[in-house]
Symmetry: C2
């Protein structure tokens, strides 16, 4: 362990910057966690830059996004740091943590659990919104407080709730194929029951379609891309519900149904450049 | 199996085109083989375009390049089909085929074996230069004979020998960190001994550094990128030997030692756009 609490796991030069992975002991999750961080050329040279957080989907680790999305090219050009945490605590030996792909390990759902078995460790919401940003600001060349958030599927929803629950914390938010109304779909219901209990009333503060209804804060700069042939769209993602909720609450959102795209990283890779540009503009405009 | 001999395994929309994988029964290798093919938007619409072949390195399948390199963006923009075969025959139950990562399965080395155990199946050279191009021309919207070749590590060397042994067959050739003088390094020696026998004399027609010495044909349009901190550079890749051989034979080569880059796909992804542009120019110039 290094003096400041993070340990370098790997470092590769990429598009003139560095793609790195670090480990650290998480206070929120009470286990060792890995996160990836892309440091663009100007931050390698010590210039402080804004940060974009990426939240991955079910089964992912800190690796999937950095291997499969090709985002580094755009982050290098735009001059932003991009941080991608793992999707849950790991290796806790909680009974049932490794039984299913869509609950427990790899499926933290970016909530703070209230249920006995999980509540001491499954606190991905607090990890992502509080602990991790502090660690990044303490250890890397970033501008304090100048951050945005995005993600895919479970992580797309994670990005939405992190922004909706913390007005002003992020300069912009975007999502790829988010599980937009988890109280209504099988993935969301399974995780909400497990982490938050059986009462749907207790899920409301963690469902973006319900949260947007009561949002009261600065503009969210909200962009969502959704593939039109995504097999999970109708029953699990339900972006339409979120958009209707935005309309009712008069919260502006750019929702793009991308013709013929599915749920894969081939979809994400196609539009990640536009998302990076969206965030870079909001981030740099905010400090101009 | 479809009427024309290839069966669709997967298809994903990506940068307006399609990233697909097909299987077929190979005559050269006498087993089922998979290959990936990226079809750019204009070829999806039926316009015939040039083809670039990508050869992967040790342990890879037809998947690694399409997941990790981010090449689709550039192939979409430039309007070229990109085909990536697997790196060896598979599942033959030849004794020893799965013992090592650097021989047998995943390590065909793009030669035609002469040794009893392997010679009936390990014919990746003939597969890549003869059988596969025919299959592509019969089944996809490509311009007959308008092709180039590139690859990484073992596949970088594969690209070099395919071009050097077939003057005029490719419009351009490039390589990322090729195993450039395999007769002299441990990876090359192991595969050459296994597939070609113990006599180094029999390796000469498969070693790019020796082949370039006697090359006699049209310009190769030869580009090589090599990371300066690649851990395999000194003992296994030896690009310097190839460049010296090119100088002696007066064969022009652009050899770029890229400061601080290693052997990973983070290196490949950084420069794949420039390689795609290099090939697209040679390919489209040749039909202008």
């Amino acid at each position: 362990m290094s003096a400041n609490g993070v340990t370098l796991v790997s470092s590769n030069r990429c598009f003139g910057g560095r793609q790195e992975v670090y480990s650290h002991d998480s206070e929120q999750l009470k286990c060792k966690m890995l996160f990836s961080i892309y440091i663009p050329p100007k931050a390698v040279d010590g210039v402080k830059v804004p940060v974009l957080y990426w939240l991955s989907g079910l089964t992912c680790t800190e690796q999937n996004f950095i291997i499969k999305s090709g985002f580094q090219r755009y982050a290098s050009d735009e001059g932003i740091v991009v941080v991608a945490p793992d999707t849950s605590p790991r290796g806790l030996n909680i009974e049932g943590e490794d039984t299913d792909y869509d609950f427990g390990t790899g499926a933290g759902f970016y909530v703070d659990s209230t249920q006995d078995k999980w509540k001491d460790n499954y606190r991905m919401y607090s990890y992502v919104t509080k602990e991790l940003p502090l660690i990044i600001e303490q250890n890397f060349a970033v501008i304090s407080g100048c951050q945005s958030i995005t993600g895919h599927s479970m992580g797309g929803h994670g990005a939405l709730i992190c922004a909706l629950k913390n007005p002003g914390l992020y300069r912009s938010v975007s999502a790829f194929a988010p599980i937009a109304n988890p109280s209504k779909g099988k993935w969301g219901q399974k995780c909400f029951k497990g982490y938050l209990g059986d009462n749907p009333k207790d899920w409301e503060e963690w469902d973006s379609t319900l949260l947007v209804d009561k949002y009261n804060g600065p503009p969210l700069n909200l962009l969502i891309d959704q593939g039109s042939t995504d097999p999970y769209l109708a029953d699990d993602l339900m972006g339409k519900n979120f958009v209707e909720s935005c309309a009712g609450a008069k919260v502006p959102v750019i929702y793009r149904l991308q013709e013929g795209y599915d749920h894969s990283f081939f979809f994400v890779s196609t539009f990640i450049g536009q998302h990076i540009a969206h965030h870079a503009k909001a981030l740099y405009d905010s400090i101009a």
